[in-house]
């Protein structure tokens, strides 16, 4: 049985007089200890997926239909009290910006101890001992002294390490990391990612890494989902998606990487913008920006099909592939 199994999950936002669909029937699985990347542009629904998994969608967002099976139980159906016992305990989350994630008026120690005591019967000093061990695991120097410090006394990188330590406090099955390094200095980003990878591997923790950085995904994860306009448009093993992307959008993303362009050349960007959630085009949502677009792309939504080694939602994927083969033969 997989650790997490998402089936046809739809998330909607209730607006004044209608609802908009933020996630459109997404499905994926995560095995125990597996690391999964979710990539896409801003607004693709990556973060919403993360918060839906934690049952933490803030109003007006809500799960409209579908199932989120975590160790066999449907999170979408759980009561607040049941969900509280899972959050931070079996399923932890690392937020985007460590500068605003920790509470400014509580010490690091208080914020770690309360997390332990919310889930386990421990004395304060026992909880502090566990906190110190975990701080040491994320390479925080002199961890015992950190417990009495306030967040503003620590750097952003240090704070994100502490947040990772908090995520690991209760030995969870799954960590959801929502762009954990976007707000950090470039020099620290690699350190944090390396740390996260190391800790997930040694502790056999499942990881869902939400990012827009394909480079990070290729280093960190075993499988990848590519999202566009609230849909999963391509899913498969990370190596195969990076080396041989099938969906025109994924191809565009990879071609847009700076490494794909000679120095001094313009980056190859995908023309146009991601549609707003209130104005998703009919048919394939990517059709207005797609260079391989056909008439039926604009009217019919593509089904997800198994193609070569990945699952992809594109009408033209067969033709695309033969074109490419031709190109190579020439």
């Amino acid at each position: 049985m997989s650790l997490l199994s998402v089936r046809d999950l739809s998330v909607k936002f209730a607006m004044r007089d209608n609802t908009v669909t933020a996630l459109n029937q997404i499905s994926f699985d995560l095995a125990k200890g597996e690391r999964l990347g979710i990539v896409g542009e801003s607004g693709a629904g990556k973060s919403i997926t993360g918060f839906a998994l934690m049952n933490l969608l803030s109003r007006p967002g809500f799960v409209d239909s579908g199932k989120i099976l975590f160790q066999g139980d449907d999170i979408a159906q759980m009561s607040d009290a049941q969900m509280r016992r899972i959050r931070g305990n079996q399923m932890a989350m690392i937020f985007q910006d460590p500068m605003v994630t920790l509470n400014p008026v509580l010490t690091i120690g208080q914020q770690m101890v309360e997390t332990l005591m919310a889930h386990r019967k421990l004395s304060k000093s026992e909880a502090e001992q566990i906190a110190i061990v975990k701080l040491r695991e994320v390479y925080i120097p002199s961890p015992a002294e950190r417990l009495n410090q306030y967040p503003h006394e620590l750097s952003g990188g240090m704070r994100q390490r502490i947040i990772i330590a908090i995520a690991l406090l209760l030995d969870p099955q799954l960590i959801i990391a929502d762009e954990p390094t976007t707000a950090l200095d470039v020099t620290i980003q690699a350190d944090i990612m390396e740390l996260l990878l190391e800790l997930c591997e040694t502790n056999k923790v499942g990881l869902i890494l939400i990012t827009h950085d394909l480079g990070v995904v290729s280093q960190m994860t075993e499988r990848t989902l590519v999202m566009y306009a609230g849909r999963i448009i391509e899913a498969g093993r990370t190596r195969e998606i990076i080396n041989d992307p099938q969906h025109p959008y994924t191809q565009g993303l990879i071609n847009a990487l700076p490494q794909q362009t000679a120095p001094g050349q313009r980056l190859k960007q995908i023309p146009g913008n991601m549609p707003s959630l209130t104005a998703i085009p009919n048919g394939c949502p990517f059709s207005p920006r797609c260079e391989y677009v056909q008439d039926h792309c604009r009217t019919e939504a593509p089904k997800t099909v198994q193609y070569t080694h990945v699952e992809v939602a594109c009408h033209e994927v067969h033709r695309l592939h033969s074109d490419k083969a031709e190109e190579m033969n020439r």
Partner: protein, 326 residues
């Protein structure tokens, strides 16, 4: 910390200087002390002589320096009416006013926090909407009207509470007599305290509600939820502590303002405090008493604000008082 304290004290002195200047300017321009002292039967020459003797013909600066020098030694002039040092008159009335302010503060703090938090957590319940509606009325209706209405309903119609005075007070020490030692004292202070709280309470409920709603949207509250923290702890530890930081600052200013509001409340309830005394002093054109009142109230204002700023620095870990002193 010490450096900050010194800096803050210097600021307080500067403010007191300005207040004393205003107070003196009023004394200098309001009424003729000679008329109060000698009446109409004295000739103009004698008046001039007396003026010279009293130093009333000296320059403004000389007169101000004399006034300030006396004030520093605790001499704020002599009340025309009581024929006593003005400061003594005020200090005798001060405990009654302070007890009233204390009563109102207890009501405000005790009610505004739970009500503000409730209306922030459940903004859409009927109770919340009702509270918000009533709070608008509370802010809009002037204190004297609230006070008169309360006397009409609870003293005249139902006769539950006395309508004026302090009732049975128990002597503590010096001029301080307390209302809080006897049942009769409690009965007497209840209505005036509620009347005095009637404007500040809704203001604080609304302030706490607005701050709390903002804090509840913050990332760290969302993060606390993601850690599986129990709701009551999120509300009362994570959110409330951050909510109260700005409220403390506003609260400090409002305590001073409340001392000023006592003028109305004390007058309606015939409360023998310094607010009631001030209004009587105005009626009697008792200029030294008026000026002394201004300076004492200004002093209370400055002291409470300084204390509140220090408390804020102690409560908020991101404020470094040591650095602010530099």
């Amino acid at each position: 910390m010490f450096a900050y304290l010194v800096k803050r004290v210097f600021q307080a002195i500067a403010v007191m200087f300005v207040i004393s200047l205003i107070g003196f300017a009023i004394q200098d321009n309001l009424g003729d002390p000679l008329r109060e002292l000698v009446g109409q039967s004295v000739s103009e020459e004698v008046r001039q002589e007396l003026r010279d003797e009293l130093g009333l013909n000296d320059s403004f600066v000389t007169q101000y320096l004399r006034f300030a020098g006396n004030a520093l030694q605790g001499d704020l002039g002599t009340s025309y009416f009581f024929k006593e040092p003005a400061l003594d008159v005020i200090l005798k009335k001060l405990p009654a006013t302070m007890e009233l302010v204390f009563g109102a503060t207890i009501i405000i703090v005790g009610l505004s926090i739970p009500v503000g938090v409730y209306t922030a957590i459940y903004p859409n319940t009927i109770l919340s909407r009702l509270v918000m509606g009533i709070s608008i009325i509370g802010i809009s209706v002037p204190v004297f009207l609230t006070a008169i209405l309360m006397i009409f309903v609870f003293s005249v119609e139902y006769g539950w509470f006395p309508s004026y005075g302090r009732g049975d007070v128990v002597h503590v020490f010096g001029p301080w007599e307390t209302n809080f030692a006897t049942v009769d004292g409690w009965m007497h202070i209840l209505l005036p305290s509620i009347a005095l709280a009637s404007i500040m309470l809704p203001l604080f409920v609304r302030l706490i509600r607005a701050e709390m709603m903002e804090v509840l949207q913050s990332e760290y509250v969302k993060y606390a939820k993601a850690k599986g923290i129990r709701p009551w702890r999120i509300y009362f530890v994570h959110a409330l502590k951050n909510t109260l930081l700005p409220v403390i600052t506003v609260g400090g200013v409002q305590i001073g303002t409340m001392v000023a509001y006592t003028i109305l409340t004390e007058t309606v309830f015939q409360w023998p405090g310094m607010g009631f005394m001030f209004l009587e002093a105005v009626n009697r054109v008792d200029t030294p008493l008026i000026v002394a009142y201004l300076i004492v109230v200004g002093f209370i204002f400055v002291v409470t604000n300084t204390i509140v700023d220090l408390i804020y620095g102690l409560v908020n870990p991101t404020v470094n008082l040591a650095r602010m002193g530099a």
